[in-house]
Subunit: 201 residues, 2 copies
Amino acid sequence: MIPVPQGKPEVVPDDGLTTRQRRTQPITAVHTGPGKGKSTAAFGLALRAWNQGWPIGVFQFVKSAKWKVGEENALKVLGASGEGGSVTWHKMGEGWSWVQRDLESSEEAAKEGWEQVKRDLAAETYRLYVLDEFTYPMKWGWVDVAEVVEVLRNRPGNQHVVITGRDAAEALLDVADLVTEMTKVKHPMDAGRKGQRGIEW
Amino acid sequence: MIPVPQGKPEVVPDDGLTTRQRRTQPITAVHTGPGKGKSTAAFGLALRAWNQGWPIGVFQFVKSAKWKVGEENALKVLGASGEGGSVTWHKMGEGWSWVQRDLESSEEAAKEGWEQVKRDLAAETYRLYVLDEFTYPMKWGWVDVAEVVEVLRNRPGNQHVVITGRDAAEALLDVADLVTEMTKVKHPMDAGRKGQRGIEW
């Protein structure tokens, strides 16, 4: 049959860790670039985490009326199925679920989202964090990149974090273990076609 | 609030179609390149299709013991939930479910998988087809690229097809509406770390 990918490392590091220890290190992943699939691949990753029975926290950092409703509904059904991990879905666009007051601006909402991520990381609330479109508040200077790097570097336990969005900061790429750039090769909108149900959302 | 992407086409084509007609054209998508996320993004797309209530057919063209079990379990639970579309999962590695006899080789198995895809496309069995790792049987000359292009181009109805795998043939990219290349920027295995549960599978 066709060979199975073996996942064999190219280098064996001299870090004093066993293979088992290296297998259970927390992963920071960044999906960036102008192409499609950055968020979609992050939600695909959440399927694996769900299958492991891990609690998953999704934080959507960009207001979006319909673009990810498919993923949201699917992950919520999975989270409620009782068969895998739990799924907690936080949306900035509708006001963060834990905030009792109206937030003045998108900037305030983004900052508040990041504060909650910090609290959850400190409390080890989830095993996988999907910080969707989180590169933008960093790009716009609303959330300090250096602080994000510091928090990610020092987070306790074995919590995996996936950050999506274009134009990820260099310092974020440096701290990431896994960076994938999605490149747009061809897109139906280039040919004048419009986004469609089931494909774009 | 932060602006929502409007999905505005750059060009309005002179094809005599209405926006509504253009919105319901079948999409052929290819996820290729050496980076991670090709299959993961395809399964993420399946979440949207599921949310639309569409029947989904997954065909895994490469034998794989554990690498996509998370996605498979999740999509099967979703398919059985009664809330969205159905999910039918076919695996070459365990013998295609519709084949009653033992197949001699991987080549024969891949050819048989493609024959079934052709039958299903002709019968309009599914609304979304995930042909996972299907670039490889084409690359290895087991399945004829020109025939795949021909079948995709002439398929009836409104059936979406997503093909994943490295080294997609030029002719396939030509017929595709949406091509995303996943580029590896950084990967934990480069630093000698091993694949781990919940992340790699």
